[in-house]
Assembly symmetry: C2
């Protein structure tokens, strides 16, 4: 987290805020996860795999992930059309960090007694 001259916590231009924005929103993480499990997935495969997502949210999220350099979109000029999505190296790194976070979450879920989950 960034801090200004007075040592205060700022949100702007902070690498952590940046990382967090990368996985912000409801669907980006599930999408990354799904691609990771399958190496590469087509649009409709993603739609089936990520439960409950709409076309709207899927295509929007994919665009964001792509423009953020976490996934690549490969379009084959065939008929019927075919588009495949896979992770970039950076995307894989991110997922690895998140895996660590998930392990921590799993241990936390085990403890709970500390006050429960909201």
């Amino acid at each position: 987290m960034d801090r200004d001259i007075k040592g205060n916590t700022r949100l702007e231009n902070c690498p952590l805020t940046y990382s967090r924005n990368m996985i912000g929103g409801k669907w980006r993480l599930p999408i990354l996860w799904a691609i990771r499990q399958n190496e590469t997935l087509r649009y409709n495969e993603l739609k089936r795999t990520v439960e409950g997502i709409t076309n709207m949210m899927l295509s929007q999220s994919l665009k964001e992930l792509e423009s953020n350099g976490l996934i690549v979109r490969k379009q084959y000029l065939e008929m019927p059309p075919r588009v495949e999505y896979s992770l970039t190296v950076e995307g894989e790194e991110l997922v690895d960090h998140l895996r660590a976070l998930a392990r921590w979450g799993k241990r936390m879920q085990g403890l709970q007694g500390h006050g429960g989950v909201e």
Copy 2:
């Protein structure tokens, strides 16, 4: 991320979703960060340190963080009142994971060329 029998990605009861909820919202992370830098902080110190936060959001976020077992609230029965917040062991672990994520974000910010940030 959890997957169901068909191997699909589910959001419920997923440790990663859990971890993510812990740092959800705009202010929890800045608050954790601020406490981490100072070992322990009083309410009004937090208010000054976390730029732009309102009483409303601060007290609400503090409650959530406490009930999630990430921070402890210690109240001294003095006049004027005094309340100090500090991280639990679990809270410190979380911040460490996030530090790793921040380092990754910093490298990503350096690359950028991949398509820029939204």
